[in-house]
Amino acid sequence: MAEDGKRLIWFYGRECPHCKKLHPVVDQWEAQSGISITKLEVWHDEKNAQLMRKYGEVISAACGGDLGVPAFYNEATGKAICGSRVDLEKMTSWAKG
């Protein structure tokens, strides 16, 4: 597990349908890459929501203007990807920075 400040983070919502669909994709990506992603739920955990707001400017831009889930943030590179169309290929590109 990467230390704070160097994590690959997935922000998700428990009742977000796109997040639910992405769960197995994230699991598959972790299994294939051997790299773990920190999964943070934002609607039922205010601390996680606060962290997401801290990275809000970059994530909002990736989401098309507003904060949304599912969103992925790379603490090492400061890059984010967002939305229902995230797939294995996009995750690999995002993780590599």
Binding site: F11, G13, R14, V42, A49, G83, S84
Partner: protein, 191 residues
């Protein structure tokens, strides 16, 4: 439709209308078929937070409208009677308690169905399981955060700014709507 007055919210600009029928065109933003049924707690919260909006009353049937502009014609009594400005203190008691709630998933789903049924350009996601999950999500957000926020957006912890996250939100302005014909969470889609 019952002749009882209900609360309606414009999903584009958050105007609130209290009347038998929703406005066909929002007097503030000009959008057609933009009003969705809402409940009293939601209307009360917007009434409290949207201090830039004024309150207007139909001088014939006492329908009320919270918005930047008055209704040009009453949607309930169809009269061209003038909407007159009233103070927030006067308006509160006139927006009487209603005998319905949107506090169960089936009630939320019925409000969404009614909204898209009245709007020829929008439909609900065909994946009914995902739609039901979203109805549970907005009610979870009522319980935890006070309003029917979209479960796929994230609040800024600023009550006024977060008004734009109430579902249905102004999805017409979203990139996903313009590019893929669906709102951010996928609930509403172009027909």
């Amino acid at each position: 439709m019952s002749e009882k007055k209900r609360y309606w919210r414009c999903h584009v600009c958050n105007d609130i209308h209290f009347g038998v029928k929703p406005p066909e065109t929002c007097p503030t933003c000009g959008m057609r078929n933009a009003f969705v049924l809402c409940d009293q707690p939601e209307a009360d919260r917007i009434f409290e937070l949207a201090r830039d909006k004024n309150v207007w009353r139909c001088s014939r049937c006492d329908d009320m409208h919270l918005g930047a502009k008055p209704m040009p014609q009453c949607s309930s009594c169809a009269s061209a009677a003038k909407y007159v400005s009233v103070s927030r203190e006067e308006a509160g008691p006139m927006m009487r308690p209603v005998d319905y709630t949107l506090s169960a998933p089936d009630e939320v789903l019925a409000a969404w169905d009614e909204f898209v049924g009245r709007n020829g350009r929008i439909r609900l996601w065909e994946e009914r399981g995902s739609v039901q999950q979203l109805s549970v999500g907005v009610l979870e957000n009522v319980k935890n955060k006070g309003l029917k926020y979209c479960p796929c957006r994230v609040p800024l912890d600023d009550p006024v700014k977060d008004l734009k996250l109430i579902c249905p939100c102004n999805f017409l302005a979203q990139q996903t709507w313009k590019e893929h014909g669906e709102c951010w969470c996928g609930l509403f889609r172009k027909r």
